[in-house]
């Protein structure tokens, strides 16, 4: 959409966008280009000997069972986080929309986890579920469950899913609440007059109207699970045990920083870039299209 009224100036607009463009080039495009370049090299950490190897790094990645496992693990993780986050927050939002008294109090009490850094969320939950000293571990032991996420990969995955979802509930909750509150009451009343129970009303009226929000949140939650949860993993499982929680973004960091495998890490970065671009394109084409200015 265009403005009818615009200003004319030979130099001013350039001056105005200059800061952002400058930072974007130096800190976005230049490193991204370097990542692409490095992905075609094999080099020692000090940069003293580099060899151009075309797509060898990529080929090795896809031959590496661990990298392929990482895809699977990331898929499981992000689906779990997105689905549970959306279901729980939708339930809470529907309830909050329903009550008249105390709505603001509930809202305030439910949104503050948004302020918690994912890494801290991870640490808090890891503390509660710590194999030796955690309070939840103690309770589980009483019920005969041997909880040791340091050995059990499934338990470790459960831990990071809980920590990551917990943090995201508030964000989802706010969007659902706003979406629910923008549904015209007249529609619901009409359905009630037709004899529909609350449950039917929900499925036939509310849920379809919420679908743009749901879809938007699905994309956002998946992107969050892909990238924003780095802190959760690093502060707790660090990809373990036995690489059972090594999501893709963590592998990039680990291979680049801890293992000094610059070529492999760069190749992984490039693949992740492609995935993000695809997700963002999906978000903009399917979601933004529905909104009018």
């Amino acid at each position: 959409m265009e403005k009818r009224v615009v200003f004319q100036s030979k130099w001013l607009p350039y001056a105005l966008v200059a800061p952002q463009i400058a930072v974007t080039i130096v800190f976005f495009f230049w490193p991204a280009a370097q990542a692409v370049y490095w992905s075609f090299l094999v080099q020692d950490p000090f940069g003293l000997s580099t060899t151009f190897v075309w797509f060898q790094n990529y080929a090795e990645l896809f031959r590496n069972q661990h990298y392929l496992d990482s895809f699977r693990i990331t898929a499981i993780f992000s689906t779990a986080v997105a689905v549970s986050g959306i279901v729980i927050s939708l339930l809470l939002a529907v309830m909050a929309d329903h009550v008249l008294r105390g709505a603001l109090a509930y809202k305030t009490l439910l949104i503050w986890p948004y302020a918690v850094a994912p890494a801290i969320a991870g640490i808090l939950w890891a503390f509660i579920f710590a194999p030796s000293i955690g309070i939840a571990t103690y309770v589980l032991k009483r019920y005969g469950v041997d909880w040791n996420w340091i050995v059990n990969g499934d338990q470790a995955m459960l831990l990071i899913v809980i920590a990551a979802t917990w943090k995201q509930i508030s964000y989802n909750f706010l969007f659902f609440l706003a979406g629910l509150q923008s549904i015209p009451r007249s529609l619901l009343e009409a359905a009630a007059i037709d004899g529909a129970t609350p449950l039917r009303r929900f499925w036939t009226v509310v849920f379809p109207l919420l679908s743009p929000v749901t879809f938007y949140l699905l994309v956002i939650n998946i992107v969050y699970a892909f990238f924003g949860t780095f802190g959760v993993v690093d502060a707790t499982t660090q990809g373990g045990p036995a690489a059972d929680t090594q999501i893709l973004v963590y592998k990039v960091y680990h291979d680049g920083v801890k293992a000094a495998d610059l070529g492999g890490s760069a190749a992984q970065s490039v693949i992740l870039m492609i995935i993000v671009i695809a997700l963002t394109v999906v978000q903009f084409r399917f979601v933004e299209k529905k909104v009018q200015y």
């Binding site: 000997s49 030796s132 045990p241 036995a242 293992a259």
Partner: protein, 435 residues
Amino acid sequence: MIRKTLFAALALAFASGAQAQTEIQWWHSMGGALGDKVNELAGKFNASQKDYKVVPTFKGSYPESMTAAIAAFRAGNAPHVLQVFEVGTATMMAARGAILPVHKLMKDADEPFNPKAYIGPVAGYYTDSKGNMLSFPFNSSTAIFYWNKDAFKKAGLDPEKPPRTWKEVVAAAEKLKASGQQCAYTTSWPSWIHIENFSAWHNVPIGTKENGLAGTDTQFQFNTPLHVRHLTMLQDLAKRGMFSYAGRTNQGGAKFTSGECAMLTESTGGQANVRRGAKFNWAVTQIPYWDDVKGAPQNAIIGGASLWVMGGKTNNAYKGVARFFSFLSRPEIQMEWHKATGYVPITYAAYDMTKKSGFYKENPGAEVAIKMLTNKPATANSKGLRFGNFVQGREVIEEEIEAVISGKKEPKAALDEAVRRGNEILRKFEAANKG
């Protein structure tokens, strides 16, 4: 006006001339109390002479500080001295343009330096195949065995007689479990203790070419029947609820200190924590072994870190670094560091001095580690190890060990897989460092 400027310029020149102190940047990963000790040592050196000032900076964990140093090197402002953990040795050694070998540093600066003064396994770890020392040993540890005397008594075991062989460990574990002990055994640093030190202690190779000390074309060999037998024992103990895995670093120490597990294999450096937190009688001894293996126990290999000198600095600065290293080599300084930290004394002179001071009579546990290192003269299998990209390599081993302990994989299959994956990493390193 001109006079003022002249005066100011003169004063400045005079001041900078008088204070021609060269700063030596030292990046390390010694946190907390260890870091305080490092600062103390540097302070002592700085106070003993005026030409050089060593500035230690804590740069995070070993991997973090190494990454930071590599990036700094690429940007042209690396520190003079960098503390690198043992698994980073191969990477540093291969970076010929980036480092200055210690033997060359000392020779060029006319500082006395005798590799034979260092304890065998310590020197061997950081020496090339020609006998030249490449980095300066600083903090070395090895793995020892801890046991809970009170728990032993309760289980009907003699609290003064710890298990000497792994068979005895299993027998003790059974009795401990029967007496109600929550967990009989745990460990820290699984790869370092149960594969690397295990191999050296039994005089079997971890890899060809003297565990990589003699060349980058080394191949892993830790999937022999002996290794399989050992991992099978661990897996069995885990299945029967007698072995509780604690993690890849020193988390086992906490399980022992809290009384949860009655036996522990861990670094000698962990004694300080146990001393602080344990509310029971305990003691340490050497690591168990399989007594049907010929030549066992051989000697242990070290963990810890050494100091590397980065390239591209001035000769004057290198003189200062050499003098600092000479300072650190003094027996009394070594003894002080050893007593305060729990790391082993790395020269024979320091060891003797500590013995004479009666320290070991009061703290017998402090001598176990050094005794293990000097148990027998080192063989090709027990001088140490040097594998490229061993950070990744060790992780591969740990991943496979975890799969065995959780019952997901059989020991033979896991070790074969670890050898296969590990060799891939070694080949990559070899290829990247051909230049």
